[in-house]
Symmetry: C2
Subunit: 326 residues, 2 copies
Amino acid sequence: LPHTANPEISGWVERIRSGDARALARAISAVEDRRPEAQALLRALFPHTGRARVIGMTGSPGAGKSTLVDQLAKHYRKEKHSLGIIAVDPTSPFSGGAILGDRIRMLSHHGDSGIYIRSMATRGALGGLAATTADAATVLDAAGRDLLLIETVGVGQDEIDIVRLADVTVVILVPGMGDDVQSIKAGIMEIADVFVINKSDREGAERVEREIRAMQSLSQRKDEWSPPIVKTVATEGKGTAELAEAIAGYEHFVEKRGLLKRKRAEHWRTRLLEMLRDALLNRVLRQQFGERELERYAEEIAEHQRDPYALIEEVLAGLENVKSKI
Amino acid sequence: LPHTANPEISGWVERIRSGDARALARAISAVEDRRPEAQALLRALFPHTGRARVIGMTGSPGAGKSTLVDQLAKHYRKEKHSLGIIAVDPTSPFSGGAILGDRIRMLSHHGDSGIYIRSMATRGALGGLAATTADAATVLDAAGRDLLLIETVGVGQDEIDIVRLADVTVVILVPGMGDDVQSIKAGIMEIADVFVINKSDREGAERVEREIRAMQSLSQRKDEWSPPIVKTVATEGKGTAELAEAIAGYEHFVEKRGLLKRKRAEHWRTRLLEMLRDALLNRVLRQQFGERELERYAEEIAEHQRDPYALIEEVLAGLENVKSKI
């Protein structure tokens, strides 16, 4: 095993795979903080991945996502699944809030080691939250969690990128939202494999359903799947089993049609480009100029003493010249 | 002028600078579609930039941003400013809607050539909307527009990145939003130089003001600026002059303290990293492997026949080996 030759990394991988929660937490932290050892760890974990089903759940703030995800987690625990939950909220105002939130939610599962919850609120200076979330999912997958629930606020492109890494995407709507919120929903309509109308005991649930149907009638999916609409009241646990059934229905459809490979290949195409962009930039920042020069260049550009486009060409020519000299 | 030696590019630059609206529109389209000629054009335009004041305006969907921006534009037109408006809405469901929206808004300004409006709703496969918006702002700046208003939906990280390129950031709130929306607002609290409470004739305006004050009392800005709160009713044009005054107040503060250079240097630092990431990836995709190989690699990774981390290392080693052979 040439790549896990590092005994520290191999030991870490073993502990993660044996279910050691502290080793797992440390791994996700390393990934989140983009620490140098994360790359070697991810590489050593990769051969042990690809088994987990990944379910993405997204919706507007206030749609009741966390409650619904918790209910769904309880449902899957009864079926003896081992779960990982990644809650991504880039809009969260407090950086410390994520950890506190994890503890509160962990408590609601009575210290059940079959559910591992992790929140992510910050993103690194380089690279997006989607990449970090994908890496965290890789760690949980390698740790033997067979069901991953990725929960995010469905309002921006970042969030759409995050749920795109899922095998199944659930979009959660609620009755009683304004017209502008409708247009946001329309923006994520095309990524929904299953719709949920949560808080469906509220007035307006029928209207939301009609609106979804109307939007669906306007366009047809390439895979010809017709996303079902499930009504839930997450706070009372109503509709959870039906939601799990709808998710399984889509998974069955995908399996029957042999679409999972294509879906995962598309995911890896995007992810590979992101990984490449990060790796190449890091290489240039290490070899051609450092943080201090970067600051200086930025100041010079701001004062119009340097042309940014010429600078980029210089960096590329640096690679180019090396090449032509061989 | 070695970089504008291309006569087509120099002619284009001349037409843009002389106020030719079609040349301007074609330039922004080239930037938006990331066409090959865009890079040469941006480089040729860069020496003519740096003069425009850039005002970023963000708020939740339904906050009345467009109306407020239009009112502010009218106000600045009376002061004989030449305006460029870039409306960015990644949540917009219809790709054609942006153009239609532009036409409708243009009409409201009675064909006034002193206001140029452009919407951006889509983003390219590579690179973010923030980079495209920054490039479009560069074009408008070079075209001699002395005031740029950049309007976006303030809900995701992308949108925060977009308003960050502005010299002044205005955050628009409205009364009567739920608790979750408050937390979104908290996420963008720190980037606001000026707050607007729009629809301030509605119930709850005082409460929103109290909440902003409470949040402000919890933290102090590094530059010690205390963001003012302006109440507006954009549909009636109320408070527009006061908003323009508040914006000018912050600009005066920034000028007096000599902070603009630092702000623009920070902006260029972020933008330079983005430009580098894109340029490096494009180089690798041209020199080391193409789109077809990328698809194949992604499929192989999805089927666990290839290790993505090893692939990245191979690409980097490709650069490395070349270097060590000199």
